[in-house]
Amino acid sequence: MLARIEVPRQARRGEIILLRIAIQHPMETGYRPDNFGRRIAKNVINNLVCRYNGVEVFRAEMGSGMSANPLLQFHALAEASGEFVFEWVDDSGERGSERAAITVSA
């Protein structure tokens, strides 16, 4: 699954930083019929977690109401240098992950 993440490379301790992730995904609602009238199975990214040095800082549980190719953004408090890890899974069981390092100065 193709995704792009945006994590600042550097921040000052105590700074509030913006994190963004965009994932290429159809976010199939489960309510649409195909050209033959058969229902297309629901397939959305149902769970996305972001951890900062192992600690969960953000979680989204999503359903049918999200657009395709969703963009999620949230804030975190820069505390220490380390890594942000994003992990997600869709209804078909496909998983994705992205990671980025951050350097936090005093």
């Binding site: 193709l2 963004r20 965009a22 657009s67 395709a68 190719n69 963009l71």
Partner: protein, 251 residues
């Protein structure tokens, strides 16, 4: 000015061209404009990112990637898409950037051509065209492409479909007015492949043009057909003065 450069007054109808063309983004709402302007929020950039991966992936019987021959796309593909559609010297045929990528795959990479509107071809096209972003459209008129330009212009002014409407009726005579929930723009192709919210995906200019045929209840020409290529060429000349915006965002 254009009549002079083209000579012979063949393009008398070009005089009706908008003196200062405005991109479709100028007719879009503030939300769409903001989405296109922010390279992270612009969902079309996901296709560009996929195109970059494909650019660096070996394919075909040559087992070479695009990068193996063309190196860094930022320099080798800069400005290239702005000059398409153009006549392919080897075959004498008019090709757009999609067609050019496929010809290169067949001829130089020994790979099968990608299907029009496939995710792979859209991604590569978006990636190659993105390298020309901000550069002025640079399609020239010459003896070789003149028959195509003339056919493109004929199609542009031809009434068609159950609604009996020509492109010019909407995109020149009614630009800026409302058609149901849409604001009609001048109908330029400079932002394609573009992400359309209605599609929930990135699509080619031919997909957009087919939607306009469908809108007037006319028979839709096939993807990559001569009719759509001639029209694409005419649109590029008509839009002279605009810059490449790929990937655009539209409603």
């Amino acid at each position: 000015m254009f009549a002079a450069t083209l000579g012979g007054g063949v393009f008398a109808a070009e005089a009706q061209r908008l003196p200062a063309p405005k991109s479709g983004i100028a007719y879009a709402g503030a939300d769409i404009r903001a989405m296109q302007a922010d390279d992270f929020a612009n969902p079309g950039m996901l296709w560009v990112a996929r195109g970059e991966k494909l650019w660096n992936t070996a394919a075909g019987r040559s087992n070479k990637s695009c990068a193996a021959c063309h190196r860094d796309a930022a320099s080798s593909m800069k400005g290239i898409a702005a000059g398409y559609p153009r006549i392919d010297v080897a075959s004498g045929k008019l090709v757009n950037i999609e067609g050019r990528i496929n010809r290169c795959r067949e001829r130089n990479q020994s790979a099968d051509p990608l299907q029009y509107e496939s995710e792979e071809l859209l991604a590569l096209t978006a990636y190659v065209a993105h390298q020309s972003r901000g550069m002025p459209l640079a399609v020239t008129a010459d003896a070789a492409n003149r028959p195509h330009l003339e056919r493109g212009r004929e199609i542009y002014y031809r009434r068609q479909g159950q609604m009996n409407l020509a492109c010019v009726n909407c995109h020149e005579q009614n630009a800026g007015r409302k058609l149901l929930a849409e604001t009609i723009s001048e109908g330029h192709g400079n932002a394609y492949p573009a992400y359309r919210l209605e599609w929930q995906a990135t699509g080619s200019l031919h997909r957009r043009l087919r939607a306009c045929y469908y809108g007037v209840r006319a028979v839709m020409p096939a993807y990559g057909s001569d009719e759509l290529l001639d029209l694409e060429l005419y649109l590029a000349r008509r839009a002279a003065g605009l810059t490449v915006e790929t990937p655009g965002v539209r409603r």
